[in-house]
């Protein structure tokens, strides 16, 4: 027997959900959703759970991750209850539930705290630069080291435990019996979804958006690989230099389109932007752009006189790596693909 908890709805509103209470359960949203199936039907069920505050049911559900926010449900909702944005907010809420540090929740719910975090990161970079006497060589060297350490630390201490928590909430706690072999046979699903977001092609007329998203993932991973493992800023190989340029260009060009969508607010999915959405896309854009310009300055010999440029890039990088990646919207990259993986494991 489940008790109703109206407080949950109020909590959810802090994550961007609104008006979902207006739902009168007609089910049009589920009917128009091209990803909803008979076995996994949404979003009405999630709206209902949210209205009633059935936290446990939501926590153990993968459905929020099965939605790729085409926005058809919100367009067709006769009550204007915005099921699409509710699903988005549930993903934010789930992200915080998975996060053992609970910092995600703080940052999602409070813009001032997020800004403070960003300021601290900036100050950190400045202090570090002062300590290094603004020596470009050593700053760039340590900057590169930082990238490697940050990736390892964030993944090891935050993301990996969080994914284990997600697994616990979805499979272990609800006592779903899964044969061990499934974890291996379904592994391909994880890789496919992580790198292709194949499922989002199931949304109507989504080819362009899927393509943009696909190449930005490739661009991002490519740039990550180029800067971290190939040490782009210190590498003289022409191939590596060009590769870095291409990857960074991809990032800032595509993110310009994403940002303009959020400004124009014509598509349902980009009508409502939370600070976390803006930060994710803007920082991605800045990362691509600053990396591109830094390398350009290196190649034209201007970087020595413009050390501020690298410091700016480094600040963006630190904020990205320490705030947005572990506690921000970046995590959807992992949770979505793991959700598909867990779904497959459960289904097999």
């Amino acid at each position: 027997m489940a008790a109703i908890n109206t407080e949950f709805g109020k909590e959810l509103k802090k994550y961007g959900a609104f008006d979902f209470n207006a739902c009168y359960n007609c089910g049009n949203c589920t009917a128009v959703c091209s990803l909803s199936t008979e076995e996994d039907s949404f979003p009405r069920e999630m709206v209902r759970f949210s209205v009633l505050g059935l936290e446990d049911d939501i926590r153990s559900s993968l459905k929020p991750w099965l939605c790729y926010y085409c926005g058809e449900c919100s367009t067709h909702c006769p009550q204007e209850a915005n099921p699409g944005e509710l699903m988005m907010s549930l993903r934010r809420w789930l992200t915080t539930e998975y996060d053992w540090t609970k910092l995600s929740g703080l940052l999602y719910r409070s813009l001032p705290l997020t800004i403070i975090g960003f300021i601290i990161a900036t100050l950190g970079v400045l202090v570090f630069s002062v300590l290094e006497n603004f020596n470009l060589q050593s700053i760039m060297h340590i900057g590169h080291l930082f990238e490697i350490i940050a990736i390892a630390a964030v993944f090891g201490f935050i993301l990996l435990p969080n994914i284990i928590r997600m697994w616990w909430m979805i499979i272990l706690k609800p006592k779903i019996k899964v044969p061990l072999i499934n974890y291996f046979t379904s592994f391909g699903e994880l890789i496919i979804h992580m790198f292709t977001q194949k499922r989002s092609l199931g949304c109507d007329d989504n080819q362009l958006r899927w393509f943009e998203h696909f190449i930005i993932v490739i661009g991002y991973l490519g740039l990550l690989f180029t800067t971290v493992f190939l040490d782009w800023f210190s590498n003289d190989s022409l191939f590596v230099i060009v590769l870095g340029y291409v990857m960074s260009i991809i990032i800032f060009i595509v993110t310009i389109d994403f940002m303009s969508d959020r400004i124009k607010k014509q598509k349902e999915m980009s009508k409502y932007s939370q600070p976390s959405d803006w930060m994710f896309v803007v920082w991605l854009f800045l990362m691509g752009l600053t990396a591109f310009v830094v390398r350009l300055f290196i190649d034209t010999g201007l970087i020595e006189k413009n050390i501020w440029l690298y410091l700016f890039h480094l600040t963006i990088l630190v904020q990205w790596a320490l705030i947005i990646v572990p506690f921000g919207k970046w995590t959807h990259f992992l949770y979505r693909s793991f959700a598909m993986y867990f779904a497959k494991i459960k289904a097999v």
């Binding site: 027997m1 489940a2 008790a3 109703i4 109206t6 709805g9 008006d19 209470n21 207006a22 739902c23 009168y24 359960n25 069920e45 209902r48 759970f49 209205v51 009633l52 059935l54 009550q79």
Partner: protein, 642 residues
């Protein structure tokens, strides 16, 4: 006397002629005795044919007309009007139904259909041969209307009648007018209070010279019928003189030792024997409830306006029409129905509305502050096994509005609606949307699995298998359970039996035709409106009140009434009064009268409907139905048997 009869046989497009050989019908009856002309026509009801009929009748001086076409329900009146336009008495027209009774019924047997049609037309011709001109009865109709019930419908109807220049006696059983509406606080959609609405109407009622308002008044007898109802009304006094000092009065109320449940607050509070429902209620003079008064005399000592010498009186009135607006009772749940009377803090919707009205700032009931409220819908309505199959219409809107009011008036209220599907029809739908957006929770079940109310120690828990959440079992802890009770007919509807007013299966008063004659009853001269007819909200009650007012006025406006002449007729010589006819009459139209030497039956022309129920029971065959005499019917049978 040999009549000149015209017969018209209709093709009805092909509805008749596709199966019935209309030309053959025409040929077979042309030779019938008295038939002067016989024609077939594509559409008898068409303008061209109607005009041709008028010309035929005038030119040939026809004195009997038959049209063989569709059902008389469709076009009897059409062709009666045609004969009237041609200057012929309309009762010289006889209708033969060869569509429903021949072509449609026997579409598989064309020769048979034709044969049936021929016999039907011959029978009609036989009847028209014997038809005589008839003229409506004219009776006097007293230009006055009695409105029974001083609630929203009765008040509005009385004002409307009075505005049209009709004297009205407005009879209210309680000592205060306004009925149920006076008990409600703020109303959807206008956001006025019930008191404000009633005040508006009361002010119009008292300024009207045409309205005589009787409170504490009850109809105790009625004789007479349409145009001439003679009613006796018992009026209970207030035992307080009209002009009284308010200070004295308040003290008098204070000293009164009697303590009885206050029906105005649906028994959630008590009142004294000397009382008014609320300070400005109308009429503003308070009342002594003489049934509960102990005559201790304490009030008399304080307030000089108290006057126990006032006496009950009986007033006789004479009106042409009666308008019934006696309203409804709220359904009283059975003991234990959703915990009613067994679990504390289970109340009905009307009680809840009074609780909201009576509380300020904090919502307190029985000393406990209320935060979580569960509403259980359709209590006493839409019963699968019970008597009340109907939906009470008003409750969904009413309870959602009350819940919102509670949320706005008091802080931290959580509303949980256990419903069976929300019916905030029409413009009221916006309220439902607003309630949802405001955070009210709606849980739904089917009628076969209603929510369960349980009490464990101090807590009331409501459980439901919510069909909106895949029948998941959900539970709510509530401080107050509101049973959303519907409308039922008045427990004491004895006034209806004085007028022999028929009731429907739902026990509300019945109209003649729900859609086409919604405020008339089979008792001529009596109209019904408001919730005595069935569940209605205020708007619907007032709508029906206005239409009943107009209908009642139409009975009395001219001072006389034309009544249908087709009624029963007693042969005084044959009648020996056995009473069988009076017993058979469903309209109470037959009474015994003394003739010169013996007792005989007499028909009340204004009440008889010509139904013919009295004819077969008469052992001496002393009753005939005008226009359906034995002679006429026998001649028709002969023609049909051919």
């Amino acid at each position: 006397m040999n009549k000149k009869i015209g017969v018209y046989i209709c093709h009805c497009g092909g509805n008749i002629s596709d199966y019935v050989d209309v030309e053959k019908v025409k040929k077979s009856i042309e030779a019938e005795d008295g038939v002067f002309l016989a024609k077939t026509t594509l559409f008898a009801c068409g303008d061209a044919n109607q005009k041709e009929m008028v010309d035929d009748i005038k030119e040939n001086e026809l004195d009997g007309v038959v049209v063989a076409s569709c059902s008389p329900k469709l076009h009897l009146l059409t062709f009666r009007a045609v004969t009237e336009r041609a200057g012929l008495n309309k009762y010289n027209y006889v209708h033969a139904n060869i569509r429903e009774q021949a072509s449609w019924a026997h579409s598989d047997d064309k020769p048979g259909a034709t044969e049936t049609a021929i016999r039907l037309v011959k029978a009609a011709v036989a009847k028209v041969r014997l038809a005589e001109p008839l003229y409506p009865f004219i009776i006097n109709s007293k230009k006055a209307v009695a409105v029974i019930g001083g609630g929203i419908a009765g008040l509005r109807a009385a004002i409307e009648l009075a505005d049209m220049g009709c004297p009205v006696t407005l009879i209210e059983r309680e000592h205060f007018i306004g009925g149920r509406v006076a008990q409600w606080d703020v109303l959807f959609t206008t956001n006025e209070t019930g008191k404000e609405v009633v005040t508006k109407l009361y002010n119009e009622v008292i300024r009207h010279d045409n309205i005589r308002l009787l409170t504490g008044a009850e109809v105790i007898s009625n004789t007479g019928s349409i145009g001439d109802f003679k009613m006796k009304i018992k009026v209970t006094p207030r035992y307080i003189k009209a002009k009284c000092n308010e200070g004295h009065l308040l003290k008098a109320i204070e000293v009164c030792p009697v303590d009885v449940p206050d029906e105005f607050n649906f028994n959630i509070t008590n009142r004294k024997a000397i009382y008014h429902n609320f300070p400005s209620e109308y009429p503003q003079t308070p009342v002594i409830d003489i049934k509960n008064c102990t005559r201790c005399g304490e009030c008399e000592k304080i307030c000089p306006s108290v006057d126990f010498s006032q006496e009950e009186e009986t007033i006789e009135i004479n009106v042409g029409s009666v308008l019934m607006a006696t309203g409804f009772d709220s359904y009283t749940p059975a003991d234990g129905e959703f915990g009613y009377k067994q679990i504390e803090n289970v109340v009905t919707l009307p009680q809840f509305k009074r609780i909201i009205d009576l509380n300020d700032k904090k919502l307190i009931y029985k000393g406990k502050e209320i935060k979580n409220i569960a509403y259980i819908y359709c209590v006493g309505s839409r019963q699968i096994d019970g008597d009340n199959k109907y939906c009470s219409r008003y409750c969904c809107t009413s309870v959602i509005y009350a819940a919102m009011q509670a949320r706005h008036k008091f802080s931290d209220i959580n509303n949980y609606h256990f419903n069976r599907g929300i019916r905030t029809y029409g413009k009221q739908e916006v309220l439902y949307a607003e309630s949802l957006k405001g955070g009210d929770i709606y849980l739904q079940s089917y009628e076969d699995a209603p929510p369960v109310v349980e009490q464990n120690n101090d807590k009331i828990t409501i459980r439901i298998n919510d069909i909106l959440t895949a029948k998941k079992e959900m539970s709510v802890e509530a401080d107050l359970v509101v049973l959303v009770t519907g409308m039922v007919p008045r427990a004491d509807n004895s006034v209806a039996s004085l007028f022999k007013l028929p009731k429907g299966r739902d026990k509300f008063f019945n109209e003649i035709h729900m859609k086409l004659r919604p405020v008339e009853t089979v008792i001529d001269g009596i109209t019904i409106c408001g919730a005595c007819q069935g569940p209605k909200n205020i708007m619907e009650s007032v709508n029906s009140a206005l239409s009943a007012a107009i209908k009642s006025f139409s009975y009395v406006s001219k001072g006389e009434l034309e009544l249908e002449p087709i009624i029963a007729k007693i042969d005084k010589d044959l009648c020996t009064w056995c009473g069988a006819c009076a017993e058979a009459c469903p309209f109470d139209a037959i009474k015994m009268v003394k003739d010169e030497k013996k007792d005989i039956a007499a028909i009340n022309n204004s009440v008889c409907k010509g139904c013919g129920m009295c004819l077969p029971v008469c052992p001496s065959n002393a009753i005939n139905l005008i226009a359906y005499s034995d002679k006429e019917i026998e001649s028709m049978i002969d023609a049909l048997a051919g």
